[in-house]
């Protein structure tokens, strides 16, 4: 519209052009401001290292260059073309022709004026010599003769003295004093335009006869022929148009160049502004992708890029990325669940290891401890709890008695021992109690490395149980094998004695009697031994009744007090009830009191203290004496059959006691007191009734 206003004056006025120009300038200024702000914002983003800003800058530069280069070329070509075109309008030949035409017109008018001058002078001469009465007719004749328009004679006061007009309707106008003044000196002619016609107006001084100072004046008005007039005016009009245009050439160039410059700026600035929008639209998903990638690298898998419903490559990329993010999120959640499960399993394993009575220890190839439980520390008597990543050596396991164990582990780890030979048992003295510890090592391969699991078990009870079972089996067989021939032996001896009674002499009779008594006595002794063996090897107790321990002990004490032994019975509660076989429990208590009685032989003040109480759901029965105690040599295998410090007896007493107590789901501990004597502690679960 701005460009159109240059050429079309009817549609767009100058004011409109100015308004349009101002509007365009303001629009350009707004675009420049907008672009400047965008550029500042973009560079700030680049400085802040906001993702996508550099890509936006590159795209903006690319898009802008794509527009600026061709538009600039078009602009330069247009300006050059326009300038040359405008200059070509003002051809020297055209100007010369127009000047020639105008000059021709001017010369024609001058010739005509010269003609009027000659005619005027002729009329003036004629009138000057004519009488006053003849002036009008002479003027008429001369005008007609010279074919003039109007001829008027004025006196010096511009009064009309005579008049002749070709057109009688027109009244003469009063001449200009200035013109008369000029005409007073000589001829004065003037060319005037009047209603698209050219009129020659001439003033000629007319001498007055016999008067040298005063003059009359002749005015001649001669219209130019209309053909000549219109042609001359037409040439003048064209010449003036050309001159005006020529004069406006500089302004024309400036205005066209300015307009083209504004159009160029509008195009470039609009392109740059649009390039910002397009660049943002292009870079936005990529920026979001980059940002999302950054978030994902930080572990945020919840970042989903908005899908704008685009079906182009970027849309597909965004969809794929979102799909990947969701899968990663799912995998991460699963991983967390798995980690949680592993953690739970590890805790479970820790709990198991902690509560495991067996010691567990894992070492690597360099014998560094990777894992261990409390039982291992306890069994190896290690006080330092944090031994992970420390080498398993004598610095950690300080007790010398564990030296063979450590050596065995080291040898196995170093491969000095065959892998099949992976178990050893060691006897350890634990507070004067012999303890059997079994060490078992297994190698495991994990992640290309070989680690070793060391299992340490206290197998004292197991070994003891196995030993008891073996002894029970021996006892059962011995009882079976020995008991059968005893009765025939006894009967045979008695029959021999009965048959030969009175048939032998006294000496022989005496020998026979001693021999048969000896046989019968030894057979009885064997029967006692076999019965004890039978008791030891008998099946577990089947009969379960409620037994009041206090009452049972009181009934037994009554029998022993008669023997002169001071027995004290302390009862913390009136009734200590257990579920079991009363006879067997009686046998236990009798056995223990018998042992105490034997240990008190030779003591000046023999005393036995019995304490019964209930603690933690267990009936606790303690027997203490002030006797000689148990010899150290046998204290560790006191429950084994045939282990006894007494000269008489089978050595099965405490073995049977232990068997009965275990059958009652109880336990027994026998140890020497520091002040002398022995102490036996029995614990049996109390009855639930």
């Amino acid at each position: 519209m701005l460009a159109k206003s240059l050429t079309n004056t009817d549609i767009v006025s100058t004011e409109t052009f100015k308004l349009l120009f101002i509007f365009n300038v303001l629009f350009i200024a707004s675009l420049i401001l907008l672009i400047t702000l965008q550029i500042i914002r973009l560079f700030k983003n680049i400085k802040k290292e906001i993702i996508g800003s550099k890509l936006t800058l590159r795209l903006v530069i690319s898009f802008a260059l794509m527009v600026i280069i061709p538009v600039s070329i078009v602009y330069l070509v247009s300006v050059s073309f326009l300038t040359k075109s405008i200059n070509s309008w003002f051809d020297v030949k055209v100007e010369s022709a127009l000047e020639g035409g105008l000059s021709l017109g001017q010369k024609t008018l001058n010739i005509l004026m010269r003609d009027v001058e000659l005619k005027g002078r002729s009329i003036a001469y004629s009138i000057a010599n004519a009488k006053d009465s003849e002036r009008n007719s002479l003027l008429q004749d001369m005008r007609e003769k010279f074919n003039l328009g109007d001829v008027i004679l004025y006196d010096k006061k511009l009064n009309i003295l005579a008049l002749s007009s070709a057109n009688n309707t027109s009244l003469p106008t009063i001449p200009n004093y200035e013109h008369i003044e000029r005409a007073s000196r000589d001829f004065y002619g003037i060319i005037e335009e009047l209603n698209e016609n050219i009129i020659l107006r001439a003033y000629v001084p007319v001498k007055i006869e016999n008067n040298l100072t005063e003059k009359n004046y002749l005015e001649i008005r001669q219209p130019i022929p209309s053909e000549i007039s219109s042609l001359a005016l037409s040439v003048e009009s064209v010449y003036e148009d050309y001159q005006r245009l020529s004069y406006s050439r500089k302004s024309l160039n400036i205005v066209y160049t300015l307009t083209l410059t504004i159009v160029l700026l509008l195009a470039i600035l609009s392109a740059v502004a649009i390039s910002f929008v397009i660049s943002r639209r292009f870079s936005e998903p990529l920026s979001q992708l980059a940002d999302a990638t950054k978030q994902i690298s930080k572990g945020n898998f919840k970042r989903i890029i908005p899908e704008f419903g685009k079906k182009d490559e970027i849309g597909t990329l965004v969809q794929s990325f979102n799909s990947m993010t969701r899968q990663l999120d799912l995998a991460t959640q699963n991983d967390k669940k798995n980690q949680h499960s592993i953690e739970v399993a590890r805790l479970f394993l820790d709990t198991i290891l902690t509560n495991l009575s067996s010691g567990v220890m894992v070492v690597d190839g360099s014998q560094k401890i990777m894992l261990h439980n409390l039982a291992a520390l306890s069994l190896l008597k290690i006080k330092n709890i944090s031994i992970n990543n420390k080498e398993l050596n004598t610095e950690i396991v300080k007790h010398k008695q564990f030296l063979p164990l450590i050596k065995f582990i080291a040898s196995f780890v170093l491969g000095e021992i065959k892998r099949k030979d992976n178990s050893r048992e060691y006897k350890i003295n634990n507070n004067q109690v012999e303890q059997i510890v079994r060490v078992q090592i297994n190698s495991i391969r994990n992640d290309g490395k070989t680690n070793f699991i060391i299992l340490i078990d206290d197998i004292t009870d197991v070994t003891e149980g196995q030993r008891h079972q073996a002894w029970a089996e021996i006892a059962r067989r011995l009882a079976h094998e020995i008991k059968n021939p005893l009765t025939p032996i006894q009967l045979s001896a008695e029959r021999v004695a009965h048959r030969l009674n009175g048939k032998l002499n006294k000496e022989d009779q005496s020998v026979l009697s001693k021999a048969t008594e000896t046989i019968v006595g030894q057979v009885n002794a064997l029967k006692v031994m076999v019965n004890e063996f039978s008791d030891y090897a008998r099946p577990p107790v089947q009969k379960n009744n409620d037994v009041n321990i206090n009452k049972l002990i009181e009934s037994i004490i009554d029998l022993y007090e008669a023997l002169g032994i001071n027995i004290q019975h302390k009862q913390s509660v009136h009734a200590v009830m257990v579920s079991g076989d009363e006879n067997k429990l009686r046998q236990v208590f009798v056995n223990l009191l018998e042992n105490s009685k034997d240990a008190l032989i030779g003591e000046k003040k023999p005393s036995i203290n019995i304490t019964t109480k209930i603690r933690d759901g267990m009936a606790i029965i303690e027997f203490e004496d002030n006797g000689s105690g148990i010899p150290k040599k046998i204290i560790s295998k006191i429950y084994e059959p045939y282990i006894t410090s007494k000269s008489h007896g089978t050595g099965l007493g405490l073995a049977i006691v232990l068997k009965i107590i275990e059958e009652h789901k109880g336990s027994i501990v026998i140890k020497n007191k520091t002040i002398g004597g022995a102490k036996v502690s029995i614990s049996i679960p109390v009855s639930k009734k």
Partner: protein, 185 residues
């Protein structure tokens, strides 16, 4: 004042306009006289101005550019707290141009009367001094206190490219005369 009131047919406000101290020698148009005459209810304005054309303008004139001047007369009554009230407004034009064919300057005065001059100065003199310009009818009761006369070169008469070339300052020819008549009756 009593003397002026006795004149029934014409109350003449004759104010000699002093050339403003702000008008410098280079001013292209300067008004030296501005007077308002009232005959019955008709107001007539007389003003004298001095038009100084620069050589560039004379060249333009000779190249066929018509120098058309627009004169605008305002009679104003100030209003408190609002825009001034215009009681009378009149616009007219006069011009001078060079006729190449007859090689004379054609002066056309404010009344539209044409006259040809061999000399430019004569032509300018012809349009400079304005007398008895009918600016309209005013009521006797009208209360006015200011006269405004604005004379400027009408750029609308210039060729289109010159009109559009806002960078060209040579065509900015303008004069503004404001005459405060407070207290003059």
């Amino acid at each position: 004042m009593r003397f002026l009131r006795k004149i029934k047919h014409a109350i003449i406000f004759l104010i000699i306009a002093v050339i403003s101290a702000f008008v410098n020698a280079e001013e292209k148009i300067s008004v030296s006289l501005l007077a308002l005459n009232k005959e019955k209810n008709t107001a007539y304005v007389d003003f004298d101005q001095s038009i100084n054309l620069t050589p560039e303008l004379i060249t333009a004139l000779k190249r066929g550019i018509v120098l058309k001047f627009e004169v605008r007369f305002l009679l104003i009554k100030p209003t408190k707290f609002w825009f001034d009230k215009t009681i009378l407004e009149k616009t007219a034009t006069y011009q001078i141009k060079y006729k190449n064919l007859i090689q004379q300057y054609e002066g056309s005065n404010i009344k539209g009367e044409k006259q040809y001059f061999n000399e430019l100065r004569d032509g300018i003199n012809y349009i400079e001094n304005v007398r008895h310009w009918n600016v309209g009818i005013i009521d006797n009761s009208s209360d006015y206190v200011s006269m405004v006369l604005r004379v400027r070169l009408d750029r609308g008469g210039l060729p289109k490219p010159i009109q559009l070339n806002m960078d060209d300052d040579m065509w900015n020819i303008e004069s503004l005369t404001i005459l405060d008549m407070t207290g003059v009756k």
